[in-house]
């Protein structure tokens, strides 16, 4: 049964992050997600300092605010004339350092160590349960389900708006779409997804799950909808294979899931028919051969 919960949690992380990650890739904001995954630490610490509790709800609130703050600060620095990559780098490393400092100063003896934040403890998921409406399920599963529901609702209602503001924001603005509000709503969702997932799998796997499956799906999709489906599929596959390999080699589950994301990406990247790397190399060699023939 415990194995079931761990697998379910991993798969839910795969689905939720896979779905959310699609627009991160399309909007070229993958690194903002990386930044957010680091700064949620700051949000959680501050939430803890204010409420003196580690309840899931306040963690979600703290993380959402930290995520918005990150997005806002990056935007602010950019409008102040700093290039985007540097703006992201400055914001997230500073807030992360501040988070680490706050932990050592104010929350040193609480169950909130930084390694846990980075790597997660998915193996402990089944023991921390919540009872809601008579159902007893691990807290991580509840949180992931709620956030997944938010994600699905948002994308269901604003699918076409997200698509247009991503593809052509200038045109979207000209027909009166609220592109700024869309951006911040979406970034709030990314923050919520991050915090729901990273409690169980850690900040680094969140980044891997947000970016990896969607990037893989991007290589092989002709529509946004199909990209979403592929992305979720790759997310689940990485979670399940990663879990069993980690069990086999007795190592970090979250780390192994991230590694599997890398493996899946590489497989698609290298072997994909028509424009995979091998295919292209093969074509290049053939082209050279014909050239040689012509010359001789």
């Amino acid at each position: 049964m415990n194995e079931f919960w761990v697998l379910l949690t991993g798969s839910l992380v795969g689905i939720t992050c896979g779905l959310t990650g699609v627009f991160l890739i399309l909007r070229k904001t993958a690194m903002i997600a990386d930044a957010i995954s680091h700064t949620v630490l700051f949000g959680i610490v501050v939430a803890f300092m204010i409420t003196q509790s580690l309840s899931g709800f306040w963690m979600l609130v703290g993380a959402a605010i930290a995520g918005l703050l990150t997005t806002f600060l990056v935007q602010l620095l950019q409008s102040g004339g700093l290039q985007e990559d540097a703006a992201i780098g400055v914001v997230f490393t500073s807030l992360f350092a501040l988070g680490v400092l706050f932990i050592t100063l104010f929350a040193g003896n609480v169950h909130l160590d930084v390694e846990h934040v980075l790597m997660g403890e998915i193996a402990f998921v089944p023991w921390d349960t919540w009872d809601i409406l008579g159902f007893s399920m691990p807290k991580a599963v509840w949180m992931l389900l709620i956030v997944l529901l938010f994600n699905i609702l948002f994308l269901f209602f604003f699918y076409k708006e997200m698509k247009l503001t991503t593809f052509d924001p200038v045109f979207a603005l000209s027909i009166g779409l609220p592109i700024v509000a869309m951006h911040y709503s979406y970034m709030t969702l990314v923050s919520l997804t991050t915090v729901a997932a990273f409690d169980s799998v850690g900040a680094v796997l969140v980044v891997a799950m947000l970016i990896g499956p969607a990037a893989t799906a991007y290589l092989m999709s002709k529509s946004v909808l199909r990209m979403m489906i592929w992305s979720m599929f790759f997310g689940i596959t990485a979670a399940i294979t990663g879990y069993y390999l980690a069990k086999l080699w007795n190592t970090s589950i979250a780390g192994m899931m991230a590694a599997m994301i890398g493996v899946i990406f590489m497989l698609v990247f290298v072997f994909k028919p028509h424009d995979g790397w091998i295919w292209k190399m093969f074509k290049r060699i053939k082209l050279k051969d014909t050239k040689v023939h012509v010359e001789s």
């Binding site: 680490v100 796997l205 990037a215």
Partner: protein
């Protein structure tokens, strides 16, 4: 206060700050700041592999392992961007998280072996500047000096290569080799610093001083000097402040000192700073309102 080891830590932190400040500026101007972030994260698996292969934790060996995987990560980012429609941000995020994930897998394996448990490899994630051994600090300082020397030596060539690679090629500069050298030096900076400030905050040392310096000038020479100065200052301040109280890790404090310098630059720098810019914008609006009023009469 300045007893033997602390003095060495201070020297190491200052030299590291200068090296990262100089090197980070070149990365910044190439819009490659976050590549440094990825390279720093990617050092982790290299450290673990080096330990697993050689079964010892001599810093030079671990640094070599870190350098290899860092360089591999940078190369992989370029390979992905060059061979697919994926953009740089996705490639960087992907490589960063996957390499770090692999690093954690390997680190867990190291920690499970009885000897590995005391290897202290976990320190590489957050750094342990204050408690570094003197021999390690000597390594750090000499490596930082080498980086500083190289940056001064190739200043002119890199400047041209970044500003106008086509022209640089035209006058016979080996642009590709210069680029590889710069990347190699970035990797060296990272592996030099990770034991002191950790893989995650190492990126900050590369990015923040350079970004702060950019607000003060449009001349590469001045930016480089300012960035190196900011790096050194945050290194020194961070080391001193964190020595006041036990339990404060040096890495985050150094980064926060750099961040404070950045905030000062962002708001108060002449011409490019926020305040001076806002004043100019206001003046523009006022000028036009006055003009408009005049037109209406």
């Amino acid at each position: 206060m300045l007893t033997g080891n602390l003095l060495w830590v201070l020297i190491g932190a200052i030299l590291l700050g200068v090296a990262a400040g100089l090197n980070g500026t070149f990365a910044f101007l190439q819009k490659q700041s976050l590549v440094g972030d990825a390279a720093a994260h990617a050092a982790l698996p290299g450290i673990a592999i080096a330990y697993l292969v050689f079964q010892q934790k001599d810093l030079p060996i671990l640094m070599l392992g870190a350098a290899i995987t860092s360089a591999l990560a940078v190369y992989m980012i370029q390979w992905i961007v060059g061979n697919s429609k994926l953009k740089a941000d996705a490639a960087i995020g992907f490589v960063l998280s996957v390499f770090f994930g692999i690093g954690i897998v390997l680190l867990t394996i190291v920690n499970q072996s009885s000897a590995g448990n005391q290897s202290g490899l976990n320190d590489f994630i957050f750094g342990k500047a204050a408690t570094m051994a003197k021999s390690d600090l000597v390594w750090l300082s000499s490596s930082a000096l080498l980086i500083i020397l190289m940056c001064l030596l190739f200043f002119k060539e890199w400047k041209l290569m970044i500003f106008d690679p086509v022209f640089a090629k035209g006058i016979g500069l080996p642009v590709e080799r210069l680029r590889v050298l710069l990347t190699a030096l970035t990797v060296l900076t990272i592996v030099t610093g990770i034991q002191a400030v950790g893989v995650i905050l190492m990126a900050a040392m590369l990015i923040i001083p350079a970004a702060a310096a950019r607000f003060w000038s449009n001349h590469l020479g001045i930016i480089l000097v300012t960035s190196a100065f900011f790096g050194a200052l945050s290194g020194a301040l961070g080391t001193i402040i964190s020595s006041f109280r036990t339990g404060l890790s040096t890495g985050p404090i150094i980064v926060l000192c750099a961040a404070s310098l950045f905030l000062i630059s962002y708001f108060f720098a002449p011409t490019r700073g926020f305040i001076s810019k806002s004043l100019k914008k206001k003046a523009f609006k006022q000028r036009n309102v006055v003009k408009e009023a005049a037109n209406h009469e």
